[in-house]
């Protein structure tokens, strides 16, 4: 609105503020501000050195015996991570086969990074890439071919399971979300009412109850003899939950598309689906991309709910590992490590979402 700069005019020269004035403006501009500054400096002065001492200076780093962590002067026991990181990250997966998970994780995360960069936003690149990625990763996780021993999904765990649940949620959830959003915008009252009821009911209940349904009730709905793996059931439950939230975001995007676009598409003689797929959705999804990424981050965090129903994602694997009486006292350190893993992933995605917002703004100017 305000910022109308073409690329040719250089940005205004930044005013050089003397250090003392910067300090005065920032920290001591008023009595209240000075008080706040002093208070925060005092608290930081108390907390930061203590934390540093606990976490770095006195911490036990190496993979020594747990007894060295128990001595009086020992701070944080990072040795617990050195000792337990394998079962924490990979769960019950057979120990000798952990390299497969590591390779799968590296491939998977690189493919996600490629997908996120704007340069590769092209179906002809991304579709084969993802098919290959999912193929290779499932081969590595299941095995059973090329001399890799077969591993049942019951034994999947740790960070790879988190990734599997996350991918499944997003991959199954996005199409459902688009359909629900279109259904909610439909002119047919029957379809609209069905979609609204479904979306609102799903959004009104906690994720846990949906997971309970997936685990406890869903098997009752199936005829005798037909069974689905519990992981698949949970994934479907999460996907539907995710889809209902995402549908609302996409609806917002659809509402932002002007009537003219619909009318132009109809004037060209396009049918409903062609109009949606070729004209409306590409624009609508672009508008609400930041919101979509936010809900994808939420989906990643929500995978941790499987702790309650006993699947071993990274958090529940850690909780289970920390039952070990020798290391039990150092649960906090283990959880801090898990928190760091989640933080890196979510923080990176949220910074990415801010970048997307900037790109969209560039386009609009």
């Amino acid at each position: 609105m305000v910022d109308i700069q073409s690329k040719r005019t250089p940005p205004p020269v930044a005013e050089r503020v003397p250090a003392i004035r910067w300090v005065r403006d920032n920290f001591f501009s008023s009595a209240w501000n000075t008080l706040l500054t002093i208070l925060i400096v005092f608290v930081l002065f108390e907390a930061v050195p203590a934390f540093f001492e606990w976490g770095v200076l006195n911490a036990v780093w190496g993979a020594q015996d747990h007894t060295s962590c128990r001595s009086e002067e020992a701070g944080a026991c990072w040795a617990v991570i050195a000792e337990k990181h394998r079962p924490m990250l990979f769960g019950l997966f057979p120990y000798e086969e952990h390299w497969r998970l590591l390779v799968a994780l590296i491939i998977f995360i690189s493919v996600i990074c490629i997908t996120l960069s704007r340069r590769f936003w092209n179906v002809k690149i991304l579709a084969p890439l993802w098919i290959a990625n999912l193929g290779i990763c499932s081969l590595l996780m299941w095995g059973g071919l090329f001399g890799l021993p077969y591993v049942d999904t019951q034994q999947w765990g740790g960070l790879p399971l988190t990734m599997v649940l996350f991918t499944g949620t997003v991959v199954f959830g996005m199409p459902v979300a688009v359909l629900l959003a279109l259904g909610r915008r439909s002119h047919m009252p029957g379809i609209k009412a069905t979609c609204v009821t479904f979306i609102e009911c799903m959004r009104g209940v906690p994720l846990i109850t949906i997971l309970f349904v997936a685990v406890n009730v869903f098997p009752l709905f199936l005829p005798q003899g037909l069974e689905f793996d519990v992981m698949v059931r949970v994934m479907v439950g999460m996907a539907i939950f995710f889809a209902c939230y995402q549908a609302e975001v996409i609806r917002g995007g659809l509402q932002a598309i002007t009537r003219g676009q619909y009318e132009a598409a109809e004037a060209l003689g396009l049918g409903y689906w062609q109009m949606m797929i070729r004209i409306i959705l590409p624009q609508a999804l672009r508008v609400c991309l930041p919101g979509i990424v936010n809900h994808i981050i939420a989906a990643f965090k929500n995978t941790s709910y499987v702790l309650i129903i006993g699947l071993f994602d990274i958090l529940s694997a850690t909780t289970a590992v920390m039952q070990d009486p020798l290391w039990r006292l150092f649960t906090i350190e283990a959880y801090l490590f898990v928190a760091l893993v989640y933080f890196i992933f979510c923080f990176a995605l949220s910074k990415y979402s801010q970048n997307v917002e900037r790109w969209l703004d560039e386009g609009r100017r």
Partner: protein, 392 residues
């Protein structure tokens, strides 16, 4: 299109009529849903029969047979499932209400701190927001729960001030012994709030009719605080504290907050607070600088600008997403099941395991949460209407 125009088709067939198609699609959907419903119902009946699981709501009148660690209404294991579910709902509401209150306070404070001109303040606030919202709420809750578990035993409890004890059994605080005067103090408080509201009304009426601005904040606060205080002092200022004291393995007396309650409360408050802080920040930043400059140019005072220019506009941006944060906090309180806080989901889960009646137990949980969600959204919609732009 570059192609030649198609020759007009013969659209007489009823299959090509849009109206007919629309009705057909909807009928198809209804038929599919009805079939699905019947199919699932049939399967579930057959499966339940085969597994000899009772159906129906009869179990609600049977004794629960298990006890819960804390409850607002008195409960013991010989009482019915219906009552234990009620206890669970109350526990959920309890933690959710306190959580919403604290998260709002925390969120507003941190949101304002993030836009502060003080570099230190804004950096501390953004560190809080980034760290807390990028870690799952599940991890927040079990993290706090395991920190509390590492606290010293009641015998070596920390005592931050006289009569307050922090241990791995929770937080114990002194609490005033009930007195015959207290209901009157409460009554005076209600009266004071009413008086303040009337005063605000009058001040507004006066402003709108004479243009004379009367500050409401200080007189209002003094009515609300002063009236109960006056009653209390006139009644002889009775105050005896009931101090918690170590008896056997735990503390007796005073007021106690269980470790599960504290862990759940801190976890969901800190997590949701970070989201509310972001919402508040975006609300404040949505106010155009020109608005403030224009108000200053008109010679308005700072407090007046805040009260009548900035806050009403920021609230329009802030209220709708905050409402959905309240909802998600309420739903996240279901994480009590993880750490043993007897909320609705925890009790539903135990009942499910005791009776095997999964469908009914889960249906109760879902219905209760749906009701809570709908109530909060109706209330917030009403509030949103109050602050929305009044177009004439």
């Amino acid at each position: 299109m570059a192609e030649q125009a198609h020759p007009p088709k013969n659209n007489r067939s009823i299959l090509h009529s849009i109206a007919f198609r629309n009705i057909a699609y909807q009928l198809l959907l209804v038929a599919a849903l009805a079939f699905l419903g019947w199919y699932l119902y049939d399967n579930i009946n057959e499966n339940l029969d085969r597994q000899n699981i009772a159906t129906g709501w009869g179990f609600l009148n049977e004794p629960a047979g298990f006890d819960i660690s804390e409850s607002i209404i008195p409960f013991d294991s010989s009482q019915t499932f219906a009552r234990i579910f009620a206890a669970g709902v109350l526990n959920t509401l309890h933690v959710a209400f306190v959580g919403i209150f604290l998260a709002t306070l925390l969120g507003i404070t941190m949101g304002i701190a993030r836009v502060s001109r003080n570099w230190l303040v804004s950096k501390v606030a953004s560190a809080y927001v980034e760290i807390c919202r990028n870690v799952p709420v599940v991890l927040h809750v079990i993290f706090w729960s395991s920190i509390i578990r590492l606290l010293p035993h009641p015998r070596q409890a920390l005592e931050p001030f006289n009569g307050a004890f922090i241990s791995n059994r929770g937080l114990m605080l002194p609490f005033p012994v009930d007195n015959i005067l207290y209901p009157w103090v409460a009554f005076a408080l209600v009266l004071g709030i009413g008086g303040a509201l009337i005063f605000a009304r009058w001040a507004r009426f006066r402003r709108e009719h004479t243009g004379q601005y009367i500050s409401v904040f200080w007189p209002g606060t003094s009515i609300i605080v002063g009236l109960p205080l006056l009653v209390w002092v006139l009644g002889g200022a009775p105050l005896t504290w009931d101090y918690p004291a170590l008896k056997g393995f735990n503390y007796q007396g005073g007021i106690s907050l269980s470790p599960e309650y504290i862990a759940l409360l801190i976890g969901i408050t800190v997590y949701t607070g970070a989201f509310i802080a972001e919402i508040v920040r975006s609300g404040i930043e949505s106010i155009h600088r020109g608005q403030i400059e224009a108000s200053r140019a008109l010679g308005l005072r700072h407090g007046f600008i805040m009260r009548f220019i900035i806050i009403p506009q920021a609230l329009r941006v802030i209220v709708p997403p905050t409402a959905s944060q309240f909802l998600s906090l309420t739903k996240n309180s279901s994480l009590g099941v993880l750490i043993g806080y007897p909320d609705l989901v925890n009790i539903g889960n135990t009942s499910l395991n005791q009776t095997g009646q999964a469908v009914e137990a889960i249906a109760i949980m879902m219905l209760v949460y749906l009701t809570i969600s709908l109530t909060i959204s109706i209330f917030m919609n009403f509030y949103n209407k109050l602050v929305a732009i009044r177009e004439r």
